[in-house]
């Protein structure tokens, strides 16, 4: 791999040389935590009820992140900055550090997380206005932001795991923010338990790496992988187990079921946690430990195939949803699967590039959906329609986001999606060497094209149902306040331009910054491939327009018959989990154990018959005396 990773030796030198900002990047995750303390204990006394504290802290973090990214970019990449302190000792020769590993990937993630978090917090000023747990909401958002940043900066797997679990609990807390309603707390529990299920393989994977490498430190582990110190079996096992965590967090099949339900939370939360940041943690994890995955073709193939499978699965589901947030949720699952598939075919940079662009337009779409929901007080598109007239800002920004997602040039989504498809195609065509199987590359490309078509179609459907035609809801909707439309326009702007960061042939491209896998692989643009994907996207949009331009009385998708039923029921997966796993354990197994009259044998022994006790006593004494003298 690149010099960035081999720069470990100079690490401590670079900590000073990196300059003040890079050297003190640990401040970025620390600040939100400080804000949490202030908000929890003093929040209610502030005029803004604590919101301003969170926004201020996140702003500083954001500023630092941008400075670091810019200086790195100006410096043409720059070294990895490593710093750590010993946290606590662990036995004779071990210890756990608390450290930072600041490289391209971290810098990018910093900017993504802090920007979206900041915008969401500003947006929430309007959206959450008057909420009964307004102060707590901001505290939780800041715990989340801090934890996510900690996950990103972590230089060892244990620290990463801590961030990983903390974002999980924040997700739980925020999904269940309106816990007075039982479905919301149900969704929160489902999200936590489902992702936790993935966390166990992740934890075991960390242990596998630790057992082999005797360290949690990511840099050292990667070194050992590159030096070939770790056996293939170990690496395959570790990679597949770690990917289990990514499956849970990034909502990949078969653990994707929690994400749509997670839409029970406030919409800004969905934008932050369930679109732009936390759900990308799984992708980030694979990228962070990419050398481990690269060392094992089996693991890479698994990643790619799970990704390919999930992207199609979720895109199909997105077509039949009536709840606008669920459309976006399934879309998120599908797009995350794109990133996974990209990593799986070895195109790490393309995957992260898509993560980067996706964050903007998906956050934009969620916030736009939130704006709509705020106006019509319903999540259902069947109660929307015609909002274009009432909410011009929301409409325009939402449209930009949709087009970006659909992959129309020159918007952000096009560049990243196309890079992924191109890479997959090249792997399939064996024009570039790949760690995984070429067949898998072809599969990813084929499924990716189909998914691109579906993506364009369902976004077209959503836009038409929401904004075109006549208003079908109650009351008279109104445009949202500036605190809400402002962030929308910022994100819309980013969705317009972010794609150029990865313009093929420009400098060394996005990959030179990030340096995740295939660093040497310069992205190429194939005009034919571009043409194919643009045509497919346009076809999707066109089909959507044809079917939904005039809102039909009967959903045309019903013509799919049994397949539609299957989709509406989410492939019956939820049913299966509930009836096959959760209920049996929760209700039957535990009841069987819990209510069984324990101590049957003891009950027999404790008959209350003194003479039986005495018999046992004497027998015991005799036997013991015999044993004690014998031995």
């Amino acid at each position: 791999m690149v010099a960035v990773l081999l720069a470990h030796e100079e690490a401590h030198a670079t900590a000073q040389a990196a300059g003040f900002f890079a050297g003190n990047a640990w401040l970025i995750p620390a600040l939100p935590f400080v804000a949490v303390g202030v908000i929890v204990f003093f929040g209610k006394r502030f005029r803004g009820k604590g919101a301003e504290v969170g926004i201020a802290a996140t702003s500083i973090s954001w500023l630092l992140s941008v400075i670091i990214l810019v200086t790195r970019y100006v410096g043409g990449g720059g070294p990895v900055v490593l710093r750590s302190v010993r946290w606590f000792p662990l036995g004779r020769d071990l210890g756990l550090g608390l450290g930072m590993r600041l490289d391209g990937l971290t810098s990018i993630m910093f900017v993504v997380v802090t920007t979206v978090s900041l915008l969401v917090q500003i947006y929430s000023l309007g959206y959450m206005h008057g909420d009964r747990r307004y102060t707590w909401y901001y505290a939780a958002l800041n715990i989340f932001t801090g934890s996510m940043l900690n996950l990103v900066i972590a230089d060892n797997l244990m620290q990463l795991l801590i961030g990983w679990e903390l974002v999980g609990i924040c997700s739980y807390l925020l999904i269940g923010h309106w816990w007075e309603e039982k479905p919301n707390s149900d969704a929160a529990i489902k999200a936590f338990i489902t992702t936790k299920t993935g966390d166990i393989p992740f934890l075991i994977g960390v242990f596998v790496l630790f057992a082999a490498a005797r360290t949690f430190n990511i840099t050292e582990i990667i070194h050992q992988v590159e030096d070939g110190n770790l056996s293939h079996v170990t690496l395959t096992a570790a990679a597949i187990l770690l990917f289990g965590g990514a499956i849970g967090k990034s909502a990949q099949f078969p653990l994707h079921v929690w994400l749509p339900d997670a839409m029970a939370g406030p919409t800004p939360v969905s934008a932050l946690i369930h679109a732009a940041t936390m759900v990308t943690a799984g992708v980030f994890l694979v990228a962070r430990l990419f050398p481990v995955f690269e060392a094992s073709p089996q693991a890479l193939n698994e990643v790619a195939l799970i990704g390919a499978f999930t992207m199609l699965l979720a895109a199909l589901l997105a077509m039949v949803q009536d709840d606008i947030k669920r459309v976006l949720a399934y879309s998120t699952v599908s797009q995350l699967a794109y990133m996974m598939a990209a990593l799986g075919v070895g195109a790490g940079n393309a995957g992260i590039f898509h993560l980067f662009t996706h964050a903007w337009f998906k956050a934009l779409l969620f916030l736009g959906a939130g704006s709509v929901i705020h106006a019509v007080h319903s999540n259902n598109m069947s109660e929307m329609g015609g909002l274009r007239k009432f909410m011009p800002h929301t409409y325009r920004t939402f449209l930009i986001g949709s087009v970006a997602l659909a992959g129309i040039p020159p918007l952000a989504g096009f560049w990243s999606k196309d890079e992924i498809l191109t890479e997959a195609f090249r792997v399939g065509a064996r024009t570039i060497p790949a760690h995984g199987s070429p067949v898998v590359g072809s599969i990813v490309y084929g499924v990716g094209i189909v998914t691109a078509f579906l993506t364009a179609f369902y976004m077209s459907r959503a836009v038409h149902l929401t904004f075109q035609g006549e208003y079908r809801g109650h009351g008279r909707p109104h445009e949202s306040p500036a605190t809400m439309t402002g962030p929308l326009w910022v994100l819309a702007g980013l969705s317009l331009v972010a794609g150029f960061a990865g313009f093929p042939g420009w400098q060394k491209g996005f990959g030179a910054w990030v340096g995740v896998g295939g660093e040497t692989r310069v992205p190429e643009a194939h005009l034919l491939l571009i043409a194919v994907s643009v045509v497919v996207a346009l076809a999707g949009i066109g089909l959507g327009r044809a079917l939904y331009a005039r809102v039909p009385a009967r959903d045309p998708l019903l013509r799919l018959g049994w397949f539609h039923t299957l989709l509406v029921n989410k492939y019956y997966l939820d049913e299966f989990y509930m009836r096959g796993i959760v209920r049996p354990i929760r209700d039957r197994v535990s009841a069987a154990i819990g209510t069984r009259k324990g101590g049957g044998i003891l009950r027999y022994l404790q008959s209350g018959d003194v003479q039986r006790y005495a018999a046992a006593l004497f027998a015991g004494v005799a036997i013991l005396a015999f044993l004690f003298t014998k031995f």
């Binding site: 008959s607 209350g608 003479q611 018999a615 004497f618």
Partner: protein
């Protein structure tokens, strides 16, 4: 005279006492079994005393203590038996299972 003979007699009486304690229903008979066991202990004490033959006859004195304790035990034991009999009209041990919950 062999010490082990006397000790064997003690063991025999002790075991018979155990049998009595374990196999008898009647509480007074159980008490008799206990008397047998206590006597077995006395036999051992006296035998060891005779074997060691120290000046102050420790074994004999302990035997005396045991006889005293046995007397106290029978007194209290019979009092309990009488009390149980008065309450329950029976002194069969296996019908008195207060220890069971």
């Amino acid at each position: 005279m062999s010490l082990a003979w006397v000790l064997t007699l003690g063991a025999l009486l002790f075991s018979l006492g155990i049998y009595g304690v374990l196999a008898r229903r009647n509480a007074v008979l159980v008490l008799m079994g206990i008397e047998l066991m206590l006597n077995a202990v006395n036999v051992n004490l006296i035998a060891f005393d005779a074997w060691i033959r120290q000046g102050n006859a420790t074994g004999q004195i302990f035997a005396l203590f045991i006889i005293t304790v046995a007397a106290a035990e029978v007194g209290v034991g019979l009092a309990i038996v009488l009390l149980v009999f008065r309450r329950r009209e029976t002194i069969n041990v296996d019908e008195v299972n207060l220890l069971k919950w």
